[in-house]
Amino acid sequence: MRTSCLLTALLFTGCAPKTAPDTSWRSTVPEPLAPRAFQLPAAQTGTLSNGLSVSVVENHEVPLVTVQIAFDQGSWTDGSDGIGLASVTLDMLNEGAGEYDAAGISKAAKALAANISTGAGSDSASVSLSVLRKNLEPALDLFSTVLLQPTFEQDDWDIMLMDRVASLASARNNPGSISARVGSRLRYGDEYKGVLRTEESYRALTTEAMSEWASSHLTPGNARIYVGGDTTLAEVMPMLEARFGSWTGDASTAEKPSAALPNVETTTIFLVDKPGAPQSVLKAFRRLEVDQLSEDWFDIYMANMMYGGMFSARLNLNLREEKGWTYGARSGVGTDYTNAVWTASSSVKTDTTADSISEILREVKEAATIRKFTEDELDNARGYLLGSRPVRYENAGRLLGELQSGWLYGLPDDWTVAFADNIRGVSLEAAQAAWEKHILAPELSILVVGDKATIEEGLKALELPIIHLDSDGNALEAK
């Protein structure tokens, strides 16, 4: 059967079912089996005697437990005299605490097969533990020492400073990192996520400042505890109470960031030269008037899914599967303490840079005019988001992460549960309207990190203003 089919294929262009009638049944898409119910995991909550809230999501598939203490304090608190302070402070927790030096923490963690990680991003900070449940108690001892008794030794800061400075050089060299770093500056100006870390700003930080920041910001008043895996609320509460129940410290009162740079007045190209680059890293973005609490949030979310939120969305099918200009193209709606930012991004072959930008812009426009979104595309996006739900919540981490986001950004308690109905509730008309209202707009910022010598001429032909930037995002003198 197969041989004759293949021979046919060699001789002619196709292998129609009629030449191999015994396989024609395969052309029928199989019917699904009886659907099986999916039960979202649920969190159980408790409160320590100092008021610290604990959420537990059980999962007994493997004997692992994760414990995370999260703070709504991140580099948004840094201020101009402490750029990078939150991030460095969190990293330094793991460098020395109580009786342990850095090697001592590492060795003690290994003895328990425990991973303890610490870190701060722009919006939050956290200290996390992952450990086999049989070692949970002793691992919690080490974990609490790292969080509550950091030593902030100068020697360790010297090593970390060297590492941070070296990382800056890497960030200025790697096209993807340049795009991320400069993109943040263009979106946020010189505040919040736009604050530029430099060698000078790192050198200005002191271990005293770290110690002070930790005492004033890493407090139970600013914290929540998230536990997942092979344990129960009843089992873990006494363990946490013993280590964190008498920990004191109030909530910070500083206002969360809201300032953000306005969008450009006309679509503008920002070009960072990367001589010899075989691809250009593209980001096209604009700030929206909405956040996750806005009435039409899910309409925008679904419109974006259809435009570029998945492999089988328009942007990727066009730039990758039709044109072959890229390995992939996506768009997304990013959220943080400020209004959402919509971004379409791709790395495209250098000689297709200008054409790719034209296509991104054309797809934005045509989705509102001659190629409006269709019911089929909405079904595709909806099916993708709803169908994959069971596996997304296979481990406790996803739900815990959503609970944490809900806390940071003030989302309703039933966010995760209601998500499915919120997605189902988006009509094609509503998604279309959201696209036209929020995303279809003349003022997009287009960041290009690529080989200027090769691409500049094509970019000029787009007849958009071009602003040249260095790899830190500073404007260069016009030539």
Binding site: K107, N174, Y327
Partner: protein, 450 residues
């Protein structure tokens, strides 16, 4: 608790009443062959209503023919472009039911996987069987041309347009002589990818993409009798072909000299890689080198971190790892030079520390710590049905023993200080030392690209 029992991954006893013991590490499964030679592995796990379908083919980049480097991976891309009875993007019908779908190619094998909601198991098996049996009728020049461009962009994005992205390229071509199956990394050369034609695709498909050269692993929420009937329906009538002979054995490459390669590139720091030939995956010495890596570079108490970063400021970072492959592995120590440190001095410092470790040996304590963490890493691997489905196929295809998990862990639990001493002794003077650094500022008149 019922789920835990079904999984076979229990704590040994009820946690509330019994003392804590080491977890029992196992994945329950059953396996059988279809008449056409397709191997089938079924592993139930009803924790979520989702099922993972995972297929391994015994063909990788090592099996490519001369002048067609990168072809196994290019072919993998074409497997997503449609087949006779579903002629279109596979992502289309799969994403709309919520499937998680992908495929990967490495030197030794190619795999394909999709996780789907339980009730969609028939759809996943339908598509996998259609591309196993009926890929070529839907193949067109247009699809091939498009995916050649996509794959060449993958090469640019993942290798060329990132600092040190060509490291692997330079290591492979210097570790393995021309003609060796590992001489060229999986991604391949631009000109070879560009040269691939429809005849190549057809020949490759007919040679390798046969039920008797594949293993189908299904893990997750399914009824075994229902799954067996579906597998029989969709795969049972695919004809087998001449048994393919993937390369499983080559004359070991022996390096007696040190080969030093110096590259200047658009990179921020001076980095060095030292690479030695080492025992193949699952061979004696393989687990010993993995354990040595933990002792040398895992954590701030590790030997190389202490010697090169903590006690002196010679490196910014250092990392040791075994790259385990079927035909023979290689062992790597890589490090970034601290400001003002010459790459040669960095290499000398690493050599000095290696010599010190060889001289005094590693301690029982160090080996015990490493073992403790291997156990945990095995447990972590079992936390998703996707990794379980893939691991079962990996064991079956690469060891012939689907039930290899406990033996795999035992390889690590049986490592001794003597075994590690032998492994270190195997890191001889025949090796590749690769330096990649920025152009020296005073000789930067040439600004050639890569």
């Amino acid at each position: 608790m019922l789920l835990t029992a079904l999984l076979g991954l229990a704590l040994g006893a009820n946690a509330e009443t019994a003392p804590e013991t080491s977890p029992t590490i196992s994945i329950p499964f059953e396996e059988y062959d279809l008449d056409n030679g397709l191997h089938v592995i079924l592993s139930e796990d009803h924790s979520v209503p989702f099922v993972q379908v995972n297929l391994w083919y015994r063909v990788g980049a090592k099996d490519e023919v001369e002048g067609r480097s990168g072809f196994a991976h290019l072919f993998e891309h074409l497997m997503f472009q449609g087949s006779e009875h579903m002629d279109g993007e596979y992502f289309g019908p799969l994403q709309r039911i919520g499937a998680q779908i992908n495929g990967t190619t490495n030197m030794d094998r190619t795999n394909y996987f999709e996780g789907v909601p339980s009730e969609q198991l028939p759809l996943a098996l339908w598509l996998e069987s259609d591309r196993m049996g009926f890929l070529l009728p839907a193949l067109t020049q247009e699809k091939l041309d498009n995916q050649k461009l996509v794959v060449r962009n993958e090469r640019r994005q993942s290798y060329e347009n990132r600092p040190y992205g060509m490291t692997w390229w330079w290591l492979f071509e210097n570790l393995y002589p021309a003609g060796h199956p590992y001489h060229i990394p999986t991604i391949g050369k631009h000109e070879d990818i560009d040269a691939a034609n429809l005849e190549d695709v057809k020949a490759f498909f007919r040679q390798w993409y046969l039920p008797n050269n594949a293993s189908l692993s299904i893990a997750g929420d399914f009824d075994p009798e229902e799954a067996k009937a579906l597998v029989a329906k969709y795969f049972g009538d695919l004809p087998s072909g001449p048994q393919p002979s993937p390369i499983l054995d080559v004359e070991p490459t022996v390096m007696t000299e040190e080969v030093v390669i110096r590259k200047t590139d658009d990179v921020p720091h001076n980095k060095v890689w030292m690479a030695w030939h080492s025992p193949g995956v699952y061979q004696p010495g393989d687990a010993e080198l993995d354990t040595l890596s933990s002792i040398l570079s895992a954590g701030k108490d590790s030997r190389l971190y202490q010697a090169l970063i903590e006690k002196e400021t010679i490196a910014q970072d250092v990392s040791a790892y075994q790259v385990s492959m079927l035909l023979g592995s290689f062992y790597v120590i890589e490090a970034t030079a601290a400001e003002g440190i010459a790459p040669d001095d960095l290499v000398a410092a690493i050599d000095a520390e290696l010599a010190a470790v060889a001289e005094s040996g590693v301690t029982d304590d160090e080996v015990a710590l490493a073992k403790t963490n291997w156990e945990a890493s095995f447990v972590r691997r079992l936390s998703t049905i996707n990794t379980k489905a893939n691991l079962l196929n990996q064991y079956y295809i690469q060891t012939g023993d689907t039930d290899y998990l406990a033996k795999d862990l035992a390889r690590f639990q049986d490592v001794t200080t003597d075994g590690i001493a032998k492994a270190i002794a195997g890191l001889k003077s025949g090796r590749v030392v690769l330096h990649i650094g920025p152009e020296a500022p005073d000789e930067s008149t040439e600004t050639e690209g890569k």
